[in-house]
């Protein structure tokens, strides 16, 4: 019997990042990381910056970074409305490291700015951190694949 799948769609204001039939999805919500399997109870929750892991049929895993957004779970359909999201295979590790460092420095130096700017900087930092973690996770997965 083929495995049950979920229609999964993740969109940002810029584009549709992924639209696939998947087996399971792991997302970081504000109350902790959750994994969604088929026939999950309908759920609406808020995402926090972090890593999304998706398992597709054929043992393919997708890693994505997300900087916040919302998730709507229906019985056999999951929609993620993300603020920004990137797939790990699109991310360039070196550049992310640099961006992450830049964001850190910005935060250090920007002590006297107003609230809005501070929130901006923090959001940026969290976004870069999420990307960074996504890439790390992705690399780890690839390495274990090679060993097998």
């Amino acid at each position: 019997m083929p495995d049950k799948t979920i229609q999964f769609e993740i969109v940002t204001p810029e584009r549709t990042v992924l639209k696939e039939e998947v087996l399971q999805i792991t997302v970081p919500t504000t109350t902790g990381e959750i994994t969604i399997l088929p026939d999950h109870i309908p759920l609406v929750s808020v995402l926090q910056p972090g890593v999304i892991e998706v398992k597709r049929p054929g043992n393919i895993q997708e890693i994505m970074s997300v900087s916040g957004g919302f998730i709507e779970v229906m019985k056999d359909k999951v929609v993620i409305l993300a603020d920004t999201a990137e797939r790990a295979d699109e991310l360039d590790e070196e550049r992310i490291k640099a961006a992450h460092q830049r964001a850190e420095e910005l935060k250090k130096n920007a002590k006297f700015v107003d609230d809005v700017q501070f929130a901006d900087v923090t959001a940026k930092l969290e976004k870069e951190l999420a990307r960074f973690r996504a890439v790390n996770r992705w690399r780890k997965l690839k390495n274990t694949d090679h060993k097998n």
Partner: protein
């Protein structure tokens, strides 16, 4: 000879006007390309998020969920309505502005309630002399790229709505269908509810664009939320209030942002079309006038020859 001179002067002036309209057409075309790209990029997100919001609004109408969120519940009496009217900053775009202003005024007339206009774009000031009340005027940039540009607008509107100054917020914008077709629309932003009337159905259309309608949502529920005739209810984590508090304003922002992008794309396409027509009209006039010019010139030459030969004849005799 005087006549030909006059005609040639007119030809020159029309030709230079044509150059200007041609240039404006090119500029509008370039801006339109950018605007269309932006509008298409956000459309999926905006449609999906609107779908989610409407869905929640529908579910909140179930007896238990009535008080799910203040922004989702309809108010019993309608005292004051706000209309966000999106127009262009400059003219030369055909019937773009008059179409949307007419549409907005028509829907105001039908409502028969006190209405405040919130204007975005300079050309909206036309509603002043029409005797409408204007609550605020916001500036609009020609190319909109950042959602943050509209934060001031959405914040002031949300505040006024929550304070009870307005009981309903509409947004009047021009929906971009394709470069030659734009449809003026009035869409209800607040409270979030689904009405059967076409104009409140949002960024909907047929085909590639998700048609968000009552039937669509029912179908979606049928497909994804029921099992053996039993109906699932949404679970909110951590709790409904927290989720909806952060979700609804964000989704409203996106909705308004999308309306702005649609309006921008429409404006630039309308201007491009108008300028294209102007260029064509100028070409027609030039060729017509050239014909007149040639005729006049020929007539002048003929008359001169006739005069000369008449003079020569008179001398010979």
């Amino acid at each position: 000879m005087a006549k030909t001179k006059e005609i040639s002067r007119r030809i020159k002036s029309i030709a230079s006007t044509k150059k200007i309209t041609k240039a404006m057409e090119m500029v509008a075309a370039a801006k339109m390309r950018k605007a269309i790209e932006a509008v298409l990029k956000t459309r999926t997100y905006a449609n999906l998020s609107w779908e989610t919001v409407l869905h929640l609004a529908r579910l909140s109408e179930n007896e238990a969920g009535r008080s799910l969120h203040p922004l989702l519940s309809r108010r019993p009496d309608l005292k004051r309505v706000a209309v966000i009217l999106i127009t262009s900053n400059r003219g030369m775009c055909g019937a773009y502005n008059s179409a949307i202003v007419n549409k907005a005024e028509m829907s105001v007339k039908r409502h028969q309630v006190a209405t405040d206009f919130i204007l975005v774009g300079k050309k909206g000031t036309i509603v002043h002399p029409h005797g409408h009340n204007v609550a605020a005027e916001f500036e609009k940039s020609d190319i909109l790229t950042d959602v943050r540009d509209i934060y001031p607008i959405i914040r002031s509107v949300l505040n006024d709505y929550q304070n009870g100054k307005y009981d309903r917020v509409l947004v009047a914008y021009t929906d971009f269908v394709n470069p030659v077709k734009q449809v003026p629309r009035v869409k209800q932003l607040l409270p979030i509810e689904l009405e059967k009337t076409d104009e409140y159905l949002g960024l909907a259309g047929r085909g590639s664009r998700a048609a968000v309608s009552q039937e669509f949502l029912e179908q979606k529920e049928q497909q994804h939320l029921t099992s053996d005739g039993l109906f699932f209810e949404y679970k909110f984590e951590p709790d409904p209030r927290t989720v909806l508090d952060s979700m609804i304003p964000r989704l409203l922002e996106i909705q308004l942002f999308q309306a702005f992008l649609e309006a921008n794309a429409s404006e630039h396409s309308a201007r491009m079309t108008a300028m294209h027509q102007a260029t064509e009209a100028a070409s027609d006039m030039v060729s017509e006038l050239t014909l007149f010019y040639n005729k006049a010139r020929q007539a002048g030459i003929t008359a001169e020859i006739a005069e000369i030969s008449a003079g020569a004849n008179a001398l010979a005799n």
